[in-house]
């Protein structure tokens, strides 16, 4: 049973460029969340998608956008990259729970380096 898969695993971009990261959720999951993890810190919530809509958003600028497809997979797009965007980007999937207490399954992440 494949868990959460993310691609690419590593990538290098230069300032001002744009990047797209991809995520396939765990089989049976319908909700995808994205987190940014800077080196030596805990993950920071970016946003969450359910039923192809952004349902929740953290304190990230509009340069960060996303999409969820009918097959529940998701993309994270970051425009006008800054040096400070260098981080590990984690995708997490879950099965929607009305209580909100849903257990997240994380992927291994996409390591983005901005030069």
């Amino acid at each position: 049973d494949a868990g959460v898969t993310q691609s690419p695993t590593h990538l290098i971009k230069t300032r001002g460029q744009q990047v797209t990261l991809r995520c396939s959720p765990k089989s049976g999951h319908d909700t995808v969340s994205w987190y940014q993890q800077a080196l030596g810190q805990g993950p920071q919530f970016i946003f969450q998608y359910y039923e192809e809509e952004e349902r929740q958003r953290g304190n990230f600028p509009d340069r960060f956008s996303g999409h969820q497809f009918p097959n529940y997979s998701s993309e994270l797009n970051v425009n006008a990259l800054l040096l400070g965007d260098s981080a590990l980007y984690l995708c997490a999937s879950s099965l929607f729970s009305p209580s909100g207490a849903n257990v997240l399954t994380f992927g291994a992440g996409s390591r983005l380096t901005v030069l």
Binding site: G40, Q41, G42, Q56, S94, G100, A101, L104, F106
Partner: protein, 115 residues
């Protein structure tokens, strides 16, 4: 609340001993708490969760304690093994519609198991 952790605290434990990892959470409105383990090069892995209507929950070799009065969470690992070496994060969430799924992670604790 903010979780800032530029200098990751480290807990050194001898193999076979019990480990206690502490976490002070920030939001008094949080009512759902989760512990994650992150090994090098991997995404966070769910360990155990607890809701605010409980003060203790046990899993396999792990126990989570919650003290809402002082906003403190702890994870106890019994008979620590080399495979327990990782960074451990606590995360908090408010189970209401506008916060659903928005986990707030702590800075993390590095656990090093020595033979």
């Amino acid at each position: 609340g903010e979780s800032v952790g530029l200098h990751l605290p480290t807990l050194s434990v001898q193999e076979g001993d019990n480990s206690i990892i502490n976490c002070a959470y920030s939001n008094s409105a949080s009512d759902y708490f989760i512990w994650y383990k992150q090994e090098s090069g991997k995404g966070p892995q769910f360990i155990i969760d607890i809701r605010s209507n409980m003060d203790k929950r046990q899993g396999q070799r792990v126990t989570v304690l919650l003290n809402k009065t002082v906003k403190h969470l702890s994870l106890q690992i019994a008979a620590t093994q080399p495979g327990d070496s990782a960074v451990y994060f606590c995360a908090e969430n408010v189970l209401r519609t506008d916060s659903w799924g928005k986990l707030q992670f702590g800075a993390g604790t590095q656990v090093v198991v020595t033979p």
